[in-house]
Amino acid sequence: MSPAPEQAGRRDRRDAETLRADRTAEKADARRRRLPLLPALIFVIVCTQIPFLLTIWYSLRSRNLLRPEGDQFVGLQNFVDLFVDSTFRTAAINSVGITLGCVLISMVLGLGLALLLDRSFPGRGVVRTLLITPFLIMPVAGAMLWSISMFDPSYGLVNWLLELVGIGAVDFTSQHPVASIIVALVWQWTPFMMLLLLAGLQSQTKDVLEAAQIDGAGPVKTFLLVTLPHLRFYLELSVLLGAIYVVNTFDHIYLMTAGGPGTASANLPFYIYQRAFLGFDIGQSAAMGVVTVIATIILALLALRLIFRSINAKEQS
């Protein structure tokens, strides 16, 4: 009886050893896999997360560069002040309005243009090249091109056209500041939407369209029942990516209206910038930053879930 337990014990020990060896090997493998990832991951964490932690720290203090003696811990006072600040509310509403307006309008225009370009006609390559150019122009140049060359009340091209058809000159950037900004942004982002949606249209197999035609479906029916469901992934993607980029718009507001008149056209990025770099109110601007980030995270989580689902669904298909 005695040798058996001994053998069993030895076997157990051997199992434990191989198990341990396996585990070390596994760990070594995991480390080897992780190694190439680390530089990029650490770099991004250091550059984005550390400043953000500091922002949270600043948001709890009453630091103002103009009053060096007033730097003390104030708890959530900055956040309380924020919710009675009507300018903050205006800026938040403008942020949402500018983002939604720009993304939706450029998506509809981009879809129209993509459909027009998804057929062969003379000069198609040239047309595509002309259409993507607004997106490639430096945003700073684009913003000034619209606010000065196009919208200037005395010598802007748009006002000259309006006068030709009998409408008087309009001082766009001061009378309709938000709309002017949206026009310039839509001009810049429509090509982006068009490119993504055109890629979507061209990934559609031609047999399906021909089959629909043979079945007697007209172009409208084919579009609604065949093309649009196929485009769903591309539409979602272009809206989400467009929103990520547009929600952070700063250049156009800084250059076209400077958030004015007053604070009528300031969005959150611009208002936070104003409070930080012109008012030197670090505590307040940090609190606004924190609130903006929380709001963005909530929206982004929803959006990301959608992106992941579509991309995974697409990778599997």
């Binding site: 990832l37 991004v44 550059c47 945003p139 140049a141 000065i148 010598y155 993504l196 959150l268």
Partner: protein, 298 residues
Amino acid sequence: MTTTAETARTPQASPTKASPARRPASARRRRPLGTLLTILTWLIALLFFAPVAWMVITSFKQESQAASSPPTFFFTPTLEQYAAIVDSNAGAYFLNSAIATAVSTLLVIVMAVPAAYALSIRPVKRTQDVLFFFISTKMLPIVAVIMPIYVIAGQIGMLDNLLTLIVLYTAMNLPIAVWMMRSFFLEVPGEVLEAAAMDGASLLATMRRVLIPMVTPGIAATALICVIFAWNEFFFALNLSAANAATAPLYLLSTMTSEGQFLAQLSAASVLASLPVVLAGWFAQKQLVRGLSMGAVK
């Protein structure tokens, strides 16, 4: 869904001779409509391009012609504005932009390629979480972190230093580049890697001899996107640089003077500042689509 399935099945079911009989009729009906659509497409394209064309035209004017009412359409083009820019200190701004763009793009590629490898070919645990983290940093409003960055940079004496912009542009583009490069790695067929492993090639050798050549077009596309975003960046440049590290977008700002006219000069500067990205985008339209969608659209 049922509609798609049904229409997809029909070709086999329906007699094939039905289609040649129908097609000429519909083509004949379509032709005038087609011409109309072509004209419409051209008109819209020209309308979209008109502001750019106007910017280029204005850059060849005298200042008095640039800001005239009504607008001047016929004039003798002059290179005066471009000559003035060449004579000015613009070179320093453009050089800063070029250095910041080139160095940050290089750093991004050097870090993004291995990271994307570790998220696709030999994936780490929790790959999805890491990808999620990378993309979530793109949703962080930059403005929420500018104040601490400004304060830290000030304390370590890095304000108005090109290196600061290089570091930030690298961080800004890395997440996009990782996503994009990953999509290219995912396209490498598994057999190729297995064959390389059977040959006993080491990891680094496999990477250098097999993988990198296969994803070179991907690296080029990724670099293009990083170049576009870094070259056009304005917010960091505005807040963190002054005389020494100012980039091309800030040069555009400096041409606007409160006294006197500046539109022709500004237009010429805008043309020069936009030209590199416009040309790159024109010649790499396919890569542009893939880059803008972070690799999700091929």
